[in-house]
Subunit: 134 residues, 2 copies
């Protein structure tokens, strides 16, 4: 947790609880799931604090906001370059930690200053596949 000491944010107990819940978390939880988990230890926790903290961490580059789930934002503590695979049925998300080296050719003439990219894979997870087969 000490690594967060110099990110320019006040380390309140609430924030440490959120950081602790996210650290190493591979579930790509939503704000609501984070709220529920952290509320157990901090019953006074509010959504405003969760969103405030997530926005601050995201702005500082300490976590990622994923838009891969159309229903709600998901959060990812892994800020390394990586991609995702989502089950279109149950919305489970798994990491695809590969660097695909995709680029936008300048020949397309868009003249954008490219700042990043993200590959979303869609599919059906084993559990949902089995359910459908029944």
């Amino acid at each position: 947790m000490n690594k967060y000491r110099n990110i320019g944010l006040k380390l309140t107990p609430q924030r440490l609880a959120i950081l602790g819940y996210l650290e190493g978390n591979k579930e790509h939880p939503s704000a609501e799931e984070i709220f529920r988990a952290v509320s157990e230890k901090y019953p006074t926790m509010s959504f405003a604090t969760v969103y405030n903290t997530l926005a601050a961490l995201s702005k500082k580059g300490n976590i990622l906001e994923l838009t891969i789930d159309p229903d709600k934002r998901r959060y990812d503590p892994n800020t390394e370059n990586h991609n995702h695979l989502i089950c279109i049925s149950c919305k489970k998300i798994v990491d695809i930690c590969l660097d695909y080296k995709v680029v936008v050719p300048e020949s397309l003439g868009y003249d954008f200053e490219i700042t990043g990219n993200h590959i979303e894979f869609y599919g059906i997870c084993p559990a949902c596949k089995q359910q459908k087969a029944v």
Copy 2:
């Protein structure tokens, strides 16, 4: 428009208006933009009809629902395999019509049945770049 005759949906004037507005549209409009545009000819048009139609068309595979903009869903009449570049400042979206041939290696062991993928590029468009330079 005749190409929509056999998609298994009733072709009401409202739906034809939505299809007409989307056809060839490269703006990746939101439901609200579609509603505003189509309302000019059909003042009684309701949001329910817009969403209903977009969901039906999306389900039939005639349009794509994009989740690249965190603020709202965007719709794309181009159902060919292609990717997108979004300006993180003004949310303008442009097409990247290239096939990148990215795949999820089976060696990762996820056992998902992959149904598709989508690459999102992030950047700053020329107009926003210039504004920031001021």
